[in-house]
């Protein structure tokens, strides 16, 4: 495949992170363009993604600077659609195996991430709701894991779907960041629940993910932390008063 790939992304965004991990797994050359989500360039919505979100891929067309996207490239959005797209373009990447049953198992795991982990993460970390939701989401995902290794054995789209969320949940809670009041030890308290012995398998799984180069090279912890601090300071000011 020799068509150009330009990825519009943002380091803070877990959905965009999925696309970056997939491209790293595929070991392909592509153009990475960081979008400041708080200050989007005015060409982004009309020329790349009418919904204004990341990730987005401009595929094919002439080689142009990323900030002057060509109408001739195909624009694709939705992180899970993009991961499948990269798997289709680069079948030897292993993002999805060849066996239909294993592919289905990977997709069922992705489904559990979308239906359990994402909503629980928003409820607990953004809206400050009962952390038990997140514990249950983690338990549900853990129950799908084999005794060792990644979700379907080898690293796949299943792990790509969850990795950015596990990383940001851990980072935020460890730094007491979330939709709960600051300086009351809430964050670390919730993190302790997620590190309970009954979630040992998931903790090991997360360690294995963190050791994966495609994850490690695409997660800028310092940048994400700085963004999170700013974001939750604003959220808390609104919620609890400055």
């Amino acid at each position: 495949m020799s068509q150009q790939i330009t990825l519009y992304t943002a380091k803070i965004c877990p959905y965009a992170h999925r696309a970056e991990i997939a491209l790293a797994e595929a070991k392909v050359e592509y153009t990475r363009f960081e979008i400041d989500l708080r200050n989007k360039p005015d060409w982004y919505v009309p020329k790349v993604n009418p919904v204004g979100k990341v990730p987005a891929i401009a595929y094919g067309g002439p080689t142009v600077p990323a900030d002057q996207p060509s109408p001739e490239s195909t624009k694709l959005v939705e992180s899970l659609v993009l991961v499948e797209f990269i798997a289709d373009l680069f079948p030897e990447s292993g993002i999805l195996p060849k066996d239909p049953v294993l592919r289905a198992k990977a997709r069922l795991f992705v489904d559990a991430v979308s239906n359990k982990v994402s909503p629980a993460q928003a409820a607990v970390l953004i809206r400050g709701e009962d952390p038990e939701q997140l514990v249950q989401a983690y338990e549900a995902v853990q129950a799908l894991l084999p005794p060792q290794g990644f979700a379907i054995g080898e690293f796949s789209a299943a792990d790509i779907a969850i990795a950015p969320f596990l990383a940001r949940i851990e980072l935020n809670l460890a730094n007491d960041l979330g939709g709960f009041p600051a300086d009351q030890g809430e964050g670390p308290k919730i993190l302790e629940l997620l590190r309970a012995p009954k979630l040992a398998r998931l903790q090991q799984y997360f360690k294995d993910i963190q050791a994966r180069p495609s994850f490690a090279t695409t997660f800028d912890k310092e940048h994400v932390l700085a963004s999170s601090k700013r974001r939750f300071a604003e959220l808390r000011a609104k919620k609890y008063g400055a």
Binding site: F85, D88, A104, R107, L108
Partner: protein, 240 residues
């Protein structure tokens, strides 16, 4: 390569999600055994042996040939209609469920995402929760806008792909229920929504539905009279 593994399909005709899988199985010309699950009084073995979430559709794949109500531990159990559609596309690569081209596949999956978000939310909000009709109208406007203007199915061809199989069951039930003012909405609101969906603004969508209904694999899975009779007796919709 021909699939020789057994496929058992747990379903019920009311379910638009089940119909997705049914159409795919038909188009793939799969050798499968359908089993209608009594959704109002589910047997204990279903959650225990087929789908812990207790929902349909589900399929068992492989393992020895057994009767559907005694599933084998050796078969693979799959649930979630979108996952099953992709599985069947992988199992039957020549059935046209998904094209070979990666960009076209991405377009099909994107369409499916919009069906499952905007499309479904509008359907549920108005017909099953009786809330305002705007999300339903807006959802169908968004999906109509994704259809190729000149005609054909979601990817432009004259054969169904998983994008259409995901969408059409919801679309057909919407037109059917609204045409007879059946739903949780206040009396008369269904007919109002139907008037909007049958207006020139939605000409392209109506053409699409007509094209779907003429498709042989759709026809094999849809009996309008049976659907209507069933929805009329659905206790969820009894209005005082």
């Amino acid at each position: 390569m021909v699939n020789t593994e057994q496929i058992t399909f747990y379903t019920h005709i009311y379910s638009p999600y089940s119909q997705r899988v049914h159409i795919a199985l038909e188009q793939a010309k799969a050798d499968y055994t359908p089993y209608t699950l009594n959704v109002l009084d589910k047997p204990d073995w279903y959650a225990a042996k087929v789908n812990p979430a207790g929902k349909i559709p589900a399929i068992t794949y492989g393992g020895p040939k057994v009767s559907p109500d005694t599933p084998s531990d050796e078969s693979v159990k799959l649930a979630e209609s979108a996952v099953i559609l992709e599985f069947l596309a992988d199992l039957f690569p020549d059935a046209g469920l998904l094209p070979a081209d990666p960009v076209a596949r991405a377009r099909a999956r994107f369409f499916l995402t919009v069906v499952d978000t905007k499309g479904f939310e509008g359907f549920r909000e108005f017909i099953f929760l009786g809330h305002a009709m705007a999300p339903l109208i807006d959802g169908y406007a968004a999906l109509q806008a994704l259809l190729p203007p000149a005609g054909g199915f979601a990817l432009g061809g004259d054969a169904l792909t998983i994008a259409d199989m995901a969408f059409a069951p919801f679309l057909a039930r919407t037109y059917l229920l609204l045409s007879v003012d059946l739903g949780k909405f206040p009396a008369g609101e269904g007919k109002k929504a139907y008037a909007i969906l049958t207006s020139p603004r939605f000409a392209r969508l109506q053409q699409y539905l007509q094209d779907v209904k003429a498709n042989p694999y759709w026809k094999a899975t849809w009996d309008e009279d049976t659907q209507l009779a069933m929805w009329f007796t659905n206790p969820v919709f009894r209005r005082k």
